[in-house]
């Protein structure tokens, strides 16, 4: 039977038309050489809205802080507090009242001038209207006066070492008195950029402001593009459609970029990946059981297999960029034999416990290797994955219905909140409560030694196993400068970025 003529004609036509559209369109798209002043950056966690006063999570401050909103002070790469909207500041002798001097000629993106009134309005609003629990960092503020347009006096209830540091976070963001009507969809700040377009779930387009008070950023248009799938982000970088992947969620792909077209920057973040255990009830209420886990886990192997070796081993809830960091990785050595003995002593051999795992890439990978390592020492983990954020927050975080879980605590300096009594880990914080109180009101040195003692105590209590510090794995094109190594604060400052 000869091939029917009519049939080949139909198939041929279809193929030709498909190709035609491809080639003709292809030409117009790839020639984008004049993009030296713009850049596209890939992120994974997408902001649900623009209002971090009532919605928590890393995504919103990552986009807005130090790009659109600015605080009085900011943190530099090494974690030192630097001036921002406050030109200079001084502390009263009794260390309770800060006097800030504001920069001159600062304008909001809606054209209004920055005055001390705006600062007072913003910080009082934190105490009154904010829903985000981080507002507790402003509880210590007793009163705010504005003697004149350029100076702000803030009096604290008692001296605090952490307050000024907290001011560098999103809590310190300064809003215009008229700019808080529709925070979910509109961000009016003093920062170098303003939001040109926010297409929900897709991208945010920033445009540089020519009336910015500080030095003008190198780029004048930047797009944050949100990829739910890490591999797509990587493919987009390879095909040149984006210029930088902010935090690659598939570290295995990183070694494909070991070439001179790209640069791989692996720094630290504030995210401690914690193998949390329920200290309040269940199998891990008994310290011996927790110690068994601490010895059973080979953290190096976990880091290598789950996150391709990117990230740092830490022995406690403190990232190296914090002043009170101390390397406690030696406290709990990987010693399966000892772990087996402890398991027998605790009498929990083969006893099944619930290991709730949020369905996030790093958590699922860790759960596989951790459950295998625990099994080798006789600890039987029943892994149940929970939809993140909704179900994990509801079952594990709010109802504390878990024995073991694994999550990355990304907030800066969150050791005290995470190990407070009513937090989901249920750590008995009686011992560390007094030390924390004294440290905060004491001098700089007292503050650092106090926090060190707290971290040591928590690690010694084996409250949780600190697996590793989540890396800040940035992949960028070779000719990009100013790529931030460590993510010390909430912000991803795009003003520093530029093309060679």
């Amino acid at each position: 039977m000869k091939t029917p003529r009519i049939m080949t004609w139909v198939a041929g036509a279809a193929a030709v038309s498909l190709l035609l559209t491809a080639c003709s369109a292809g030409a117009s798209d790839s020639g984008e050489d004049a993009k030296k002043d713009s850049m596209t950056i890939a992120f994974t966690a997408e902001p649900v809205n623009l209002d971090f006063t009532s919605t928590s999570g890393v995504a919103i401050p990552e986009a807005l802080m130090e790009n659109v909103y600015e605080s009085l002070v900011r943190l530099d790469g090494e974690g030192e507090i630097q001036p921002a909207l406050a030109k200079d500041w001084s502390l009263s002798d009794d260390r309770t009242t800060y006097t800030f001097e504001l920069q001159e000629g600062v304008k909001f993106s809606n054209g209004a001038d920055l005055t001390s009134e705006d600062v007072k309005y913003s910080y009082e609003r934190v105490q009154k209207d904010w829903k985000n629990a981080l507002k507790s960092k402003m509880d210590i503020v007793k009163s705010i006066e504005t003697p004149d347009d350029d100076t702000v006096n803030i009096e604290l209830k008692k001296p605090s070492n952490t307050w000024l540091f907290n001011l560098t976070s999103l809590v310190g963001a300064v809003f215009d008195t008229e700019g808080t009507k529709d925070l979910a969809n509109e961000a009016i700040g003093t920062g170098p950029f303003e939001i040109e377009k926010f297409t929900r779930g897709q991208s945010i387009d920033f445009a540089a402001r020519d009336d910015y008070w500080g030095d003008k950023p190198a780029l004048n248009s930047v797009q944050f593009k949100y990829f739910k799938d890490a591999v797509s982000a990587s493919n987009a970088l390879k095909s040149g459609e984006i210029d930088l992947v902010s935090n690659l969620q598939a570290p295995e792909l990183a070694d494909e970029y070991q070439s001179d077209d790209y640069q791989i920057v692996s720094g630290t973040t504030n995210g401690e990946v914690v193998l949390s255990m329920n200290n309040a009830k269940g199998i891990f209420k008994d310290k011996k059981a927790r110690e068994a886990v601490m010895h059973a886990i080979d953290r190096k192997a976990v880091l290598d297999t789950a996150w391709a070796g990117y990230g740092e081993l830490i022995g406690s809830m403190v990232p190296p960029t914090d002043p009170y960091y101390e390397d406690l990785t030696g406290v709990w050595k990987y010693d399966p034999k000892k772990a087996k003995e402890l398991v027998d002593e605790a009498g929990i051999k083969g006893e099944e416990f619930s290991f709730t795992v949020p369905n996030l890439p790093y958590a699922k990978a860790i759960s596989e290797i951790v459950s295998a390592q625990l099994e080798e020492v006789g600890l039987k983990a029943k892994v149940t994955t929970q939809e993140f954020p909704a179900v994990w927050l509801d079952k594990t975080f709010t109802e504390h219905d878990f024995d073991m879980s694994v999550i990355n605590h990304a907030e800066p300096r969150d050791i005290l909140t995470v190990f407070s009594k009513d937090y989901y880990i249920g750590y008995d914080d009686a011992k560390i409560k007094k030390i924390a109180e004294k440290a905060d009101t004491g001098t700089e040195e007292e503050y650092i030694s106090g926090m060190k003692e707290i971290a040591k105590t928590i690690t010694d209590d084996a409250a949780s196993d600190f697996l590793f510090l989540f890396p800040n794995l940035v992949i960028a094109k070779a000719d990009i400068e100013g790529v931030p190594a460590n993510r010390v604060s909430d912000a991803f400052k795009i003003a520093d970025l530029s093309w060679k």
Binding site: T305, N359, A365, E368, I369, A372, V383, T384, T385, E387
Partner: protein, 314 residues
């Protein structure tokens, strides 16, 4: 009555001219037709072999596997095929062959349970709906059932999967049930159209004339005659269910760690595709074999049951 121009297997009419007495001779031994029936059914044989292979893989995994499924060997991570690991190892250093054998269990279970749910719920609904359609007052009951069917079709299987996963924590179970429920409308539609056809036939009219009640007719006459169509639908539904489970694990909803399933292997090999393609190749190949096996088996069984096939033989 002109005979069917199909040569080989047209029956010799009982024109007993020369030899036997008035009683008709025994029906002509249909040598011609038996051999053609075998040839026709090569698809059933190939299908059966493939399904047996997959089943064997799953059963053997209960008894023996080269390594334990959760046995990790971080040193031997991401190795290509080697005598120790014929199919290579995954990112945790687990043996891919072991995972393929364990995965066979889950994937077969997902396919069989999902199709089971859809078949056991969808087919009766289709039959009942068709029976009502034939009753004078039953028309709108049929319409109600069919519209409910449409709504179920409209409901994204994905949403069911998400809800089940949220309520009962993500895993193979909720995923299977969700995929099964989403496949019900397909079976209901096939069963209904098949039943309508059978109810219109003369042998059903004969059965009703000899006092058989509707439920008896449904079991004795309808079920065997629509079995062929339902089997084909089942084989296609199996393929779709297995892939749906793989898709769900893409969204973190299907089989969860550390339980091995081909769908999950496929999804997790995604980031290694350009560096270690064999990680996706092996699960993909076995899913294809399983699906091909069930489809061919379905076609073969359908030919075996299909009255058209038989009528051609008459």
């Amino acid at each position: 009555m002109s005979e069917m121009p199909t040569g080989a297997n047209s029956p010799r009419d009982d024109v007993a001219l020369d030899v036997s007495a008035a009683t008709a001779s025994a029906p002509e031994p249909a040598t011609g037709r038996r051999r053609s029936r075998l040839r026709l059914n090569s698809s059933m044989i190939i299908g059966a072999c493939l399904v047996v292979l997959i089943l064997g893989l799953a059963l053997v995994s209960f008894v023996w596997t080269p390594y334990g499924p959760s046995e990790i060997d971080p040193v031997a991570r991401l190795r290509a095929g080697s005598p120790a690991h014929p199919f290579g190892t995954d990112r945790f250093g687990r043996d891919t062959l072991t995972w393929v054998m364990y995965g066979a269990r889950i994937t077969l279970m997902v396919g069989v349970v999902a199709v089971g749910i859809a078949l056991l719920i969808g087919t009766p609904i289709g039959i009942v709906s068709a029976i009502f359609a034939k009753q004078p007052w039953g028309m709108w009951i049929d319409a109600v059932i069919m519209r409910a069917n449409d709504i179920l079709l409209a409901f994204p299987a994905l949403l069911l999967a998400i809800i089940f996963a949220a309520v009962y924590s993500p895993g193979t179970g909720p995923a299977m049930v969700a995929v099964g429920i989403a496949a019900i409308p397909g079976f209901a539609r096939v069963a209904r159209s098949g039943t309508l056809q059978v109810l219109g036939s003369e042998y059903v009219r004969a059965a009703r004339a000899s006092n058989r009640r509707i439920p008896a007719i449904a079991v004795v006459h309808v079920l065997p005659n629509i079995a062929g169509m339902v089997i084909v639908q089942a084989s296609v539904a199996f393929a779709i269910s297995v892939l749906a489970e793989a898709g769900l694990s893409f969204l973190g909803l299907g089989t969860q760690a550390p339980v091995p399933s081909w769908g999950r292997m496929l999804q997790e090999s995604q980031q290694f595709l350009s560096t270690h393609p064999e990680l996706a190749l092996w699960p993909g190949l076995f899913i294809a074999l399983a699906v091909l096996g069930f489809n061919l088996l379905g076609d073969g069984l359908r030919d075996r049951f299909d009255p058209k096939m038989d009528a051609r033989g008459a």
